[in-house]
Symmetry: C2
Subunit: 412 residues, 2 copies
Amino acid sequence: MHTRESCAALDRDDPLAGLRQEFMLPEGVIYLDGNSLGPLPRAALERGRQVLVEQWGAGLIRSWNSAGWFELPTRLGDKLARLLGAGPGEVVLTDTISLNVFKALAAAVRLRPGRRVIVSERDTFPTDLYMVQGMIEFLQQGYELRLTDEDLPLERALDEDAAVLLLSHVNYRTGALHDMAEVTALAHRRGALAIWDLAHSAGAVPVDLRAAGADFAVGCTYKYLNGGPGSPAFIWVAGRHQDQARQPLSGWWGHQAPFAMAPDYQPAPGVRRFLCGTQPVLALAVAECGLDAALRADMRLVRAKSLALSDLFIDLVERRCAGHPLTLVTPRDPAARGSHVSFCHPEGYAVIQALIARGVIGDYREPRLMRFGLTPLYLRYTDVWDAVEALRDLLDNRGWDRPEHRQRGAVT
Amino acid sequence: MHTRESCAALDRDDPLAGLRQEFMLPEGVIYLDGNSLGPLPRAALERGRQVLVEQWGAGLIRSWNSAGWFELPTRLGDKLARLLGAGPGEVVLTDTISLNVFKALAAAVRLRPGRRVIVSERDTFPTDLYMVQGMIEFLQQGYELRLTDEDLPLERALDEDAAVLLLSHVNYRTGALHDMAEVTALAHRRGALAIWDLAHSAGAVPVDLRAAGADFAVGCTYKYLNGGPGSPAFIWVAGRHQDQARQPLSGWWGHQAPFAMAPDYQPAPGVRRFLCGTQPVLALAVAECGLDAALRADMRLVRAKSLALSDLFIDLVERRCAGHPLTLVTPRDPAARGSHVSFCHPEGYAVIQALIARGVIGDYREPRLMRFGLTPLYLRYTDVWDAVEALRDLLDNRGWDRPEHRQRGAVT
């Protein structure tokens, strides 16, 4: 049976405890939303100043060369590759997940001519589906989006017409984790290519794209990789596809010789052809600080602590908030989940708002889900204890039942 | 006949002189490359710190609402609209020019069904052409890119098959300026829509998109708008097209109700449907400082000073560097040029490198072009004098004729 003291003991023995000091965490806040936006690495402040004052201010246009701005997408991509089981020259940091989904998708369908079905999940993060829909409607070549759900399991959805399987590695609502190697192998047996969206796994769950035999992957850097609000996304392309893969967002940064200014597009070799236009240097440069922090942690220790924190959270909520209408939505089996945990509550929205007002920051996802990120780089076991105590107090005293907690903001 | 003293007198009488102090300009540098990357507004340093420390660091995920992050693309778009002759709800700051070209193009061709030709210029900035090529190759619906050049004038290129005309308002190499209203009217008479790339005119040349009757426009904020390296681009959609226009990069930020997380895409009303994925907040927020500086200047005064600086530059180069093989490539007629001036020199690359080494920063464009931006917000008439004197000294003494000046960097 956990107590606050036993949690404090776990903190004392935590081999990752030292990493917490790399982040600025506001006083009086327990941050359980690093699965949505990671906190500020302390190094980012100095990096931001350096890019603004030294590189932009003093260096001006010269910094494209002297400060290596032009190489940021590939240099940071090579760093990130180490967290994804990928090799150098396989990843670029660029654009947004949505756009990178489009690129991967467009490249993938052309590698599977004749097949016209794109398979995905009904409850995946919707922007992935929107990008499929945008492409299908634009192409008008008879493509079809087929969504798996309770009535249509993946096994059946992947038939001989399936060109591409597009899946979230970890589901944004439930935290359910796919076995990437197993699902990719299934897609391949059916003749389809697999695109993985790592938004909710990169930096939180061990990912081995090469070992899993995946074809394409995309993801973001602002969640578990602590890159900053809206920091650039990434795309990975398996080495075996790089020379044939073509994507239609063929801007000058993806050109073989961008500064030759030739009127005809020639794709750069390798993953660089998945770049398009000029990238936001400040956002990219600052994102490196988060990447560096993640690279200092042993991913096996990160995974172990992530599951330990999640187990603790689930156990404490279920025991200490027993009697309240809370239902665990996340798989109970540690092997089947990512690094966040969701509970359903009929008044989930108001409860989360009330929790946030008390300094315990989680978030809300439709319908009725309270979502909590258990992020090993900066969370303590005692934070989990304290967060659940705040939740218990709120539920026991109906502290969420106030008009101001029901009011909706633009971003929920 | 100009002298340094007459230039100093012009500086004393310059009604825009006070704006120079809003920018950080390094000692010993004359910056004639603001047409490629504008300098750092002083306010950007504090804005960057505020976004990093207060909004991201202390506010964390809450800042999506409390700091207005989610509204940055539309709020800044409304500000920028005032410089473009556009109205509120018509502009968003987002993504890159290349991507916005793709969106505008994809929307435009669907508004002109049956027509299969996209007309552009052979010597426009190539990424615009690359995006057309990417779209055409992807669609496989018989679209064709038709490029105007000496052999094919616009008059002839725009025939009854022309769906879209895609032009740079100001040419990136020569500085030649199109008459937007006249060319748009020609396109419309032929039944085509007009997309304008304002990369080299927004913030430097008066732009009146509504008065010109244009259909779509795109541009960047890192040149004359001083938004920072790779700061987000913009897209404008004429009010009359907004409800019918559909673009395939249909990410969640362009959804009618992004947080409903519905599996089906429904485009937001207005220009917001041209948003796609999560935007780089830090880069966007900092870009506002450059916008604010531009909005403090009267655009008629900006244009007048731009032309006065350019006239002075052309006159001084031609008189004081007479005898050297320099050829003006930019139109001599002020009404026919933007805000940069290019000279051809057989050793243009080495000359520019040598000039940069002396603190006079221009840039180079293939083939043999030396390009100089005359930016009214922070350049003085005496800067132009001093820059030309440096050039004269370099040419008179073959100061460019050294191996280190011929060496090519990644970005030229």
